[in-house]
Subunit: 109 residues, 2 copies
DNA sequence: TTGACATATTCCCATATAGGAATATATTGG
DNA sequence: CCAATATATTCCTATATGGGAATATGTCAA
């Protein structure tokens, strides 16, 4: 077997750093493909391919306006990632509390 | 170019569903490899390989106890994922608020 | 209709998988 | 030291990827 497809879910789609860059950029506002191309430093075909992956997993939505295609983030599709990470929140808070505790012990000496 | 290595960062490491399963299991408590093998339905070599990836990106820590290797989650390594997703939190709250608003309008009819 | 602009798709290829199978390494008890 | 247990590593292979290059598709303006 090989790796899970990039389009299999949001986790795989955002594993690619360029796609996270694109999503970060789109978080500010809806953008056309050429705006994205200008903002990122990538060829237009690459951008289009990344956008296709993002669209396939529902991380972005699109609408046409004349010759342009306007992409925007579908933030609710990112929520499952957030939810998965929060199951570990208790653990890292616990870890951080320990670190702080140790730091205070040191100061007390 | 090919895909970014699974060991390149936490995002790529957790893209594999089996590795998320393992992390979920380890979230409960520290576990030996054989306990993980029993809990997941996978061959031991596969588990060891997944654990290596998780260790390489710092998502788990290990200690030896006799013949056993005890793995535990390093939750702070998951935090960057959480932080990235929270940059979109405002957006999905906004979206959900809209959905709710529309639902209430309907009820008013 | 034609040309220009905006975006998408196809073809090519080097590369890193994940799992299966087999084997290697490490540790302990006797 | 040896056998048993626990874990890691190596070899193999089908597969999907991301970028580059070239090209196709779609839309508007005149």
């Amino acid at each position: 077997m090989a790796r899970a497809a990039t389009t299999s879910d949001a986790f795989n789609a955002v594993a690619e750093p360029r796609r996270r860059d694109i999503l970060n950029y789109l978080a500010l506002q809806e953008r056309s493909v050429s705006e994205i191309v200008d903002a990122m430093e990538m060829e237009q075909p690459s951008i289009s391919k990344h956008l296709k992956v993002l669209k396939d997993v529902g991380l972005v939505n699109v609408r046409r306006e004349g010759r342009q295609m306007l992409y925007r983030v579908n933030a609710t599709a990112i929520r499952p990632l957030w939810e998965w990470t929060t199951t570990f929140e208790r653990l890292w808070r616990h870890q951080l509390a320990k670190v702080k505790e140790n730091a205070e012990k040191k100061t007390d000496l």
